[in-house]
Structure formats: structure tokens, C-alpha cells
Symmetry: C2
Subunit: 324 residues, 2 copies
């Protein structure tokens, strides 16, 4: 009997990762493609091509394909609704891909599949109630409740990045009409904004130096300067961590989860961002939830979406795409 | 065969209601007691006494008793943890009551049982994913997810009143260590605070008149003045409604519920508070969730906790105290 495989596809705003993954969620092969600037037809061609490459090299029999896409999804119709960075709005993506690939196709939001990866084989293995935040350019969310993915009445829930923690705060980004969302205040984008502010307020800082020397103040540079001990860079990351803490305290009060998993590029700062987040949760959340929750970094980095999408495909084959 | 009954007990900070309820959740008899200022032993005596009165008059065979109490509950031990207004902290309340009553006893948070009442026989009947907010002196929350009560890993979830929407906002009340929670900004307590502020800012208003004449600015009076057209009173209620809207938009993004049910004393203001809340959700929440959610008043008023506690007892007897 050939080894079982599914292909998990992480379809991001700039690149696509397609991996052949076994039932234990080990990755056997992965293909990558650039997707920035493609139109809908081009995007579908590239996705088909990457899946076929991974299928060819899968070292086993590919039974289904899972996709994680940064869209709000209406599961009543299988249609992607509101795709912030991809030309996928209003198409029945799963049907289109199934037709092209001749394989069962399962589609979910990128945050949900990342949560699935962490729950099945990552930092939240064995936990029944899990909140996942993926903190990059935006903030994605995923929920495992009672051991199963929670997606809401029509599949557009778990948009945890668009929880307001400052109702009169700055406008959010992309297609979000809200203000003071955690995506507006504690994402990688917010980190860069705060880094610029601190650089101008602290002309003696390494942060200001770096900017003056023409470096772009990206998250990785701010993190590096903070690890090197620059007080301004540390302050930027602590501010982001504290704001995340306010949001996590909300989620702890709402969900009483065993584990909160934090992933995404901003987590490269490690304890510098986790420490302040944990401290704020300890100050602000209610007992006993605050005393029993663990707040931990994600196990999966850039492969979370791909591995989770493969797990989604196994769930779909087993007829359990999440009871909720 | 005698008619089936359970007794539902709503154990509030000032009074206790115990009702004999049939499987369709119709109330056949109810007993009321004042409980303010009682110590733990006194409270337990009064509860036993009220349950026995309801059992006597139940017109059927009482099979179990359910309690809704305003406590954070640790379901691992059945212990009430953090009871804001009652001397119940750290006792195994269900065990104590079962021993005294000689009947199976089931206990849950008051917000959770109110959600159960609305889901089984109220404004959220037939919906799978429901958020309930009970807006009185504090703000209680309840969740029905995938058709079942959601309580979190150890039963202390659904504390929706302690979701922060203004991270630098006013200190919350009672035992909550947080600031800018919706309980601090949009509860009946907040309504009274804002009414005093507006009364002093608008000396020509009926609100100011009422205060000058020695009336206490309770929620019912502010609501009455608003219904009579006083601009200041209307502004108070609209402000509370708009803040509730910010919180509901968060919950819509998080849960993608079919229905959000709003109950509690503040809802006496009806459309005056619901209208602004709905308008803010339409402005701030993400599609498609914001377009599919219904935001409706609770069916059950002061009996929500009692009826829901009776439903909890039926669930408990059937071995389904909420799979989650």
C-alpha cells in the first residue's frame, strides 16, 4: 500500500508554499512560488502547477489537497469573501481547484489552518481549548474549542486580529473598517510605526542611528537592535507585547483556554515580546483562567499554514472538517 | 407517570428565585427570597428552603436542581471561585446542595444559564452559534457554540463583560483587576455614571431637573426621560448603545454568530440602546459576519437565570451538561 499523503497549500499575499505531508504531519517535499501581482487566472495556474510538482515528488499517494488562504470564507457557498491581498474574492475556490486537480479540495482561512497545525502537532498538542494568534503584517486568529476548529455560523469567525482594544484608536488596515483593532496596534505593521516614532523621539538610540544610516526599520532589524540592548528598540517591542497582553487577557476571559499560541514574524523577538504580554495577562485577566493558561510561542514558523492545510485535508477526508 | 420537573435557581446578589419548570421550560411555580447580607450558612439555608417550597408546589416529580450563580466556576473541582457579590468562594457548592437536598444538583455561571434559556426557548432558539450579553449592574456573558454551551477548559470562560474595548479606560468594578472592560463602560453602573456627568453638563435638561429634585438617577429613570424625549437622557443611552456596539462588533468578528441576544435591565431602553449598537456593528465589524448576524433583545427578563438553571438540570440529567 502506498504511503498516504495530502498536499497542504499556504497561499499568502506574496508567496505560495505547497507541501506533500504525511498523516503524522511530517513534510516530505515542498514547492514554492511567487504570487505577488498575479491576477485570478494567473494565481490559479500557479497554484495548480505547484500542487502538481508536490504531487509528483510526494513519495506516496496524494489523496486530497488543503488550502489556507487569507480570506474571510463563507462556508455556505465555499466562496472566499473579502480577500485582503489576493484576487480571490467571490469565487468558489474549492470547486474551481477540485475541478482543475481532480482531487478533493478543502479550503479554510489561514489563521484556522495555522491553529490546526499547532493543535495537531505543535505547541498546543493535547489541549482542548486553544487560541492562536499569528502576528505578522496583519494579525490572524485561529480557535480550537472542545478539540475542534471553531469557525462560526458560516465560517467567517476567529477574526481575532480585529478585536478592538482601543475604541478611539487608529484606523485599521486593508479592508477592515474598524479602529483600534489589535491588528492596528500590535501587528508587525504597528511595530514598524512605533519604531519610527521612537527613533524620532530618541535621536541617541541605535534605532535612530539605523534609520539615519538609511536602513529600513523592519521588524527583524528592530528585534536585532533590541537583542543588542538598545533601550528604544526594547521599548518598541515591549509596547507591542503589552498591547498583545491586553488582547490576550480578553481572549483568556472569553475562552478560558489551556493554551494561547503566538506565532508570526513578530515572535522572532521571543521573550522580549512574550514577557510583557504574559505580565499584562497576569495583571488584567480574571482568575482562575489567568492562572491556568499557558502563553507559548508557536512551534511552526513559516510552514504553519502549509502543514495546517495538509491537516485540514486529512480532516476533510475523514469527514470531520471541524464539527463547528 | 407524574409530570417531570426540575427546579431552576437564580442566586443573585440581592435575591434568589427558585422555580419548578417543565421540560418545555414553562414555569409552574416560583419562590423568591431576599439574600442580601447573608453569610454562607444563611445563604445555603435560604436556598434549601426556597427549593423545598418550589418542590412542594411543583405539580410533578422534581428530578434535579440547577443553580445559576454569579461566580467564576472551576469545573475541575465544582468549586465557585471569585464570587463578586456572594459569600460562596471556594466551596464545592454543588456537592453541598446535593447533600442537603437529596437530589442531583448542577451549577453554572449565571451568564451561561441565561444563554441556555435564550437558546432553548427564547430569542436564539434554533441557532447554533449564539452570544448572550446580560447588561445590568455588571455585564454577564454566555456562549452557545455549535449548539452547546461553551464554558472553556475549566469552566471559567464566557466572561464577556470583561473584554477591554478601551485599554486606558476606567478601572473595572468588583474583583476585576482590569480597565476599560465593557462592564466598566457600558453596564447599568456606567449608564448611571454617564447620566450624572450629562446632568451636570446640561443644567437645562430633564436629567438635571430630576437630579435637582432629589431623584436618584437609576437606569429606569434615565430610560423614562429618554423615552419622554430628553436629549441628555437620550445621549446617555445612545453612548452606552454605541459602546455596546464596539463590543458586539468584536464578538461578531470572533464568533461569527447567527444571533447576539442582549438582556438585562439596560435593555428596558429598547431601540434607544439597540439602534446605536446595531449601527456601530454595521460600521465596524467585518463582512460577511456583520451582514448575517441578528442583534435582538432577550425573550426572558428577570426569569432568564431561573429558567436557564432548570434547563441546565435537564441537560445534566441527560448527561449533556454541554460537551464543551
Amino acid at each position: 500500500m502506498p504511503a498516504r499523503r495530502t498536499i497542504g497549500v499556504d497561499l499568502g499575499g506574496t508567496k505560495l508554499l505547497a507541501g506533500a505531508v504525511d498523516p503524522e504531519l511530517a513534510v516530505h517535499y515542498s514547492a514554492q512560488r511567487a504570487v505577488a501581482g498575479l491576477d485570478q487566472a494567473g494565481l490559479i495556474e500557479i497554484a495548480v502547477d505547484a500542487v502538481l510538482e508536490a504531487r509528483e515528488a510526494a513519495d506516496g499517494e496524494v489523496e486530497a489537497v488543503g488550502f489556507g488562504i487569507p480570506c474571510l470564507i463563507d462556508r455556505r457557498t465555499g466562496t472566499a469573501v473579502v480577500a485582503v491581498n489576493l484576487p480571490l474574492a467571490d469565487i468558489a475556490f474549492a470547486d474551481v481547484m477540485a475541478e482543475r486537480l481532480g482531487l478533493p479540495v478543502f479550503v479554510d482561512n489561514d489563521g484556522n489552518v495555522a491553529a490546526l497545525a499547532e493543535h495537531r502537532a505543535g505547541a498546543a498538542q493535547g489541549a482542548s481549548d486553544v487560541v492562536v494568534l499569528t502576528i505578522g503584517t496583519g494579525i490572524g486568529g485561529g480557535l480550537i474549542l472542545g478539540g475542534l476548529p471553531y469557525r462560526g455560523a458560516i465560517g467567517s469567525g476567529a477574526e481575532l486580529g480585529h478585536m478592538v482594544i482601543d475604541m478611539d484608536g487608529p484606523r485599521c488596515q486593508g479592508n477592515c473598517p474598524n479602529r483600534g483593532c489589535i491588528e492596528a496596534l500590535a501587528s508587525g505593521t504597528a511595530l514598524i510605526r512605533e519604531a519610527h516614532r521612537l527613533a524620532s523621539e530618541r535621536p541617541d538610540s541605535s534605532l535612530a542611528d539605523a534609520l539615519a544610516q538609511g536602513h529600513e526599520l523592519v521588524g527583524a532589524l528592530v528585534t536585532e537592535l533590541a537583542h543588542d540592548g538598545d533601550a528604544a528598540a526594547i521599548e518598541v517591542i515591549e509596547l507591542i507585547g503589552a498591547r498583545l497582553g491586553v488582547a490576550i487577557a480578553n481572549l483568556v476571559n472569553i475562552f478560558n483556554p489551556q493554551v494561547v499560541v503566538l506565532g508570526g514574524g513578530v515572535l522572532a523577538a521571543g521573550e522580549l515580546v512574550l514577557g510583557p504580554a504574559r505580565a499584562v495577562v497576569a495583571q488584567r485577566a480574571l482568575p482562575p483562567s489567568r492562572d491556568t493558561v499557558e502563553i507559548v510561542p508557536a512551534r511552526f514558523g513559516f510552514e504553519a499554514g502549509m502543514v495546517g492545510a495538509a491537516a485540514l485535508a486529512y480532516d476533510g477526508l475523514a469527514g470531520r472538517p471541524g464539527a463547528r
